[in-house]
C-alpha cells in the first residue's frame, strides 16, 4: 500500500492566493458587469522593459540555428547572468561573491520553498508573523510544523509577531532556533529593518549557529538611506545567511520567471555529530539533481536588466510603482486608517477599523468597492485585523481604487 505524506493534510484547504482567486471568481460570476481592481496578489501590471524584450527576441533567434542553439545549460545558470549579478548587485555595494555562490532559478517562490530540503527535519524554524505563506507551508509539508493549532499556527514553528505595538520589529527568539526566515523589505507589511536591527539577527545566528534565510525580493524598492539592500552588508552575514533575490517585481518577470539565490561557501550547517558541512555544496547537489536550469531565452532577458538601458527602464518602472504606493498610502491615511509600509516597499499594510477581522474586511472591500486586497490573517495569526494592498496596479486603477474605497466602503 502506497502511503501519502500526511503532513499535507495538516495544511488548510488551499494556498492563500488560490482561496482569494476562488472568492473573486464567485463574485465576478454573480456580478459580471463590474470592473474589479486587483491590488491583491502583488502581480505587476507590466510590460517588460524594452531592453528585456529586445534581448529575448535575440535569444529566440539564436535558438533557430544549430550554430547558436542552446540545449542544456548549467543547472546553476549561465555565467553571463551570474557575472552581471555579482557586478551590479553586490560588488557595487562592496560585497565580493564567487560565481559558484550564485544559483539562477525560475523563481524565489521555488527557492524559498525548496531551500528547507537541505536541512534536517528536526530543526526549529522561526518566522516573523505575518509572513509569506510559502515559508511556513513548505516546512509543514516537510514535517517541521507539528500539529496545527486553533489560531491557524503550527506548534513547532516559532512565531515572532510583528505588529503596530512593536513597530513591526521582531524580537529575537527566546529559545535557540535552527532556521530563521527574514524578508526585508517585508512582504506583507512593507516595513524594513535598519542595519543595526539586522545586525542583531546576524549576531544571534553566529552565536547560536543558526542560518538566516533572507528574502530580499523587494530590495529594488528601497528609497531611504541606512536600509540594507543585502544582508551581506552586515558583518559576519557571509557565514550565516542565504539570500534570495528575484526579477519578478524588479523587472516585471512574474510571468517570465527568473530569480536567484546566493549561498556563500562559508555558510555551514551541522551533522548531528556537530561536523560542519558547506550548505553551498548541498544546495548545488539539490539543484543539479532536481532542476535543469532556467530557459536560455529567459536568462538572456534577465541579463538585459543590467545593461544601462535596462537599468534606466527598471528604475522608471519602480518609480511608477512607488508613486502608486504613495497614492495608496496617503489616500488611506486621509481616510483615517493606520497605514504601514509603502515607503521602501510596494506593499501597504493597513489596520482594519473597529477591530474587524481580515477576511470580513476582504469581503466588504470586494462588495462595496470591487477592490481585491489580501487579508492579513492569510499571512499568519499576527496578521489578523490587518490587510495588504499592493502598488503593482496601473496608475488609473490605483487611483480609482482609492476613490472607490473613500466613497464606497461602508464600515
Amino acid at each position: 500500500m502506497v502511503t501519502i505524506n500526511e503532513n499535507y493534510l495538516k495544511l488548510s484547504g488551499g494556498y492563500l492566493f488560490s482561496e482569494i482567486g476562488r472568492r473573486v471568481t464567485r463574485f465576478k460570476a454573480e456580478n459580471p458587469q463590474v470592473h474589479i481592481i486587483n491590488l491583491g496578489i502583488g502581480d505587476v501590471a507590466g510590460p517588460l522593459p524594452q531592453a528585456v524584450i529586445e534581448s529575448m527576441h535575440q535569444a529566440v533567434d539564436e535558438m533557430a540555428w544549430p550554430e547558436t542553439f542552446r540545449g542544456y545549460g548549467p543547472e546553476q545558470g549561465y555565467d553571463f547572468l551570474i557575472n552581471s549579478i555579482i557586478e551590479h548587485d553586490y560588488r557595487s555595494r562592496g560585497i565580493e561573491l564567487d560565481a559558484d555562490e550564485i544559483f539562477i532559478s525560475d523563481g524565489s517562490k521555488c527557492d524559498t520553498g525548496n531551500i528547507q530540503e537541505i536541512f534536517g527535519i528536526e530543526n526549529v524554524v522561526a518566522i516573523t508573523d505575518p509572513v509569506y505563506p510559502v515559508y511556513v507551508d513548505t516546512n509543514v509539508m516537510a514535517g517541521r510544523g507539528g500539529e496545527a493549532d486553533a489560531a491557524g499556527g503550527f506548534e513547532r514553528i516559532v512565531y515572532l509577531p510583528c505588529n503596530a505595538e512593536n513597530s513591526f520589529v521582531p524580537q529575537l527568539p527566546e529559545q535557540r532556533v535552527g532556521l530563521i526566515y527574514l524578508c526585508y523589505p517585508n512582504n506583507p507589511t512593507g516595513t524594513t529593518l535598519s542595519k543595526a536591527e539586522l545586525k542583531k539577527w546576524v549576531d544571534y545566528a553566529r552565536e547560536n549557529r543558526s542560518v538566516i534565510l533572507y528574502d530580499a525580493a523587494y530590495e529594488a524598492f528601497i528609497r531611504e538611506e541606512d536600509i540594507p539592500h543585502s544582508i551581506y552588508e552586515i558583518e559576519g552575514a557571509m557565514e550565516v545567511a542565504i539570500e534570495f533575490r528575484s526579477f519578478s517585481k524588479t523587472a516585471g518577470f512574474t510571468g517570465t520567471r527568473c530569480a536567484f539565490t546566493v549561498v556563500p561557501k562559508r555558510v555551514v550547517g551541522y551533522t548531528r555529530e556537530s561536523e560542519a558541512v558547506s550548505l553551498n555544496r548541498l544546495w548545488n547537489r539539490r539543484q543539479t539533481t532536481k532542476f535543469n536550469g532556467v530557459s536560455y531565452v529567459v536568462q538572456r532577458g534577465a541579463a538585459a536588466v543590467y545593461t544601462p538601458e535596462g537599468q534606466r527602464q527598471v528604475r522608471e518602472m519602480i518609480d511608477y510603482y512607488m508613486t502608486n504606493a504613495s497614492i495608496i498610502r496617503n489616500g488611506l491615511l486621509k481616510m483615517g486608517f493606520q497605514v504601514y509600509g509603502g515607503v521602501n516597499a510596494p506593499y501597504i499594510w493597513l489596520k482594519t477599523l473597529d477591530g474587524m477581522d481580515s477576511w470580513t474586511f476582504f469581503d466588504r472591500l470586494l462588495k462595496d468597492a470591487c477592490v481585491v486586497g489580501t487579508p492579513g490573517a492569510g499571512f499568519g495569526p499576527a496578521g489578523e485585523g490587518y490587510f495588504r494592498l499592493t502598488a503593482f496596479g496601473a496608475r488609473e486603477d490605483t487611483q480609482e481604487a482609492i476613490e472607490r474605497i473613500k466613497n464606497g466602503l461602508k464600515l
Copy 2:
C-alpha cells in the same frame, strides 16, 4: 545549532553528468586541439522548430505592451497548452483527461524529482536497474534509500535488474512495494515494454495498491506497433499511474524548458489508517505552494508544437535523430558489439567487450576516439559493463563518432 539533511551525505560525490563533465573538461584541458564528439548527456543538437520560434517571438511581443502583457499565470499552466496536450497526445489515443489532471512544468527532471514529496517516507521504492539517477537520488535525499552499499546501491530501494539475460524486461517485485518508477521507452537502455508486459505492472499496482510513476519522456520516438505511448492505454492505469512527458527531446526544448505531468483524479494514496487521498489534490497543493508556473513565452512555444506545422517539423526532427540511432546501432553491430535500443528510442545501449567495466570503457573511448558516452554503471549496479550512446548529435558528428570508434578504439 542548525542541522543538515544528512541523507545528502549518503549520495556519491556528484550527479552523474557532473562527473562526466569534470572528466571531459580535464581531457579537453590536456588535449586542447582535439574535437570531442559528445554522445553522452542526451542533449539535442537543435535548433527549435520554426513554428516554436515564431510563436515565441509573438509571445515576447505580447510581453512588451500592457494590454497583452502576462504576469503570474496559473501554477498548473495555461489552458491553451493543456487543451492542446489533451487533444493531441491523449484524446487521439482514446484517453480522456480533464484539464485539471495536467500540470505544466519546467522539466521532467523537476517533476520526477519532486513527485516523491507527496508520498510518505516509509514507502518502499522499486526501480528498474539501470535507471535515470534522479529517481534514486531524490528518494535517497528524502530518506527512502537507507544506507548505501558497496555496489553503489541503497539498502531500502528494491532494484529490478534489466539486462541482456532477461531481455531488459523487469520482473515484478517479490515483496509489496509502494512506489514503482518505470520509464518507457527506457532511459538508458532504449528498450520498450509491450502492452501485455505493461499490463502486468498495472495489475500488480491495482492488487497491491501501489502507484506507478511512468516516465514517458521518449514516447515520440516509438516506431513499432503495439508499444504503448501512454500508460493510460492500459486498462486500469487511470487508478494507479502518474505519467510524465517532456518537450525536451520531442521538440528540442532541453534549453527552453517545458514538460508536463498527468495526475488523474482517480489515482490515490493512503493514510496510515488506509484512508484514500487523491494524489491530484496533493500534487496541486505541492505545485501551487512551491512553483509559480512556466514562463508564458515558453508555454506559447510549446503550444506551437501542436500546430500542423509544428507537428510536421517535430516529426522531421525525430526522423533525423532516429536515422542517427540506426547509424550508431548498425555501426556497433558491425563491430561486433551486443547492442540494444535505438529502434523505438534515441538511446543505444551496448555491452562493453571482454567484461570491461563502464568507467574504464568511458575513459578509453574518450582517449582513443575522443567520443563521450555515458557509463552504464552511472545508472545503477545492473548497468555495470554497459555503456550508453545517444542519437541526439548532428548527423556528421554521429557518423564520425562511429568511424572513430571503428578505427581508433583499442580494446
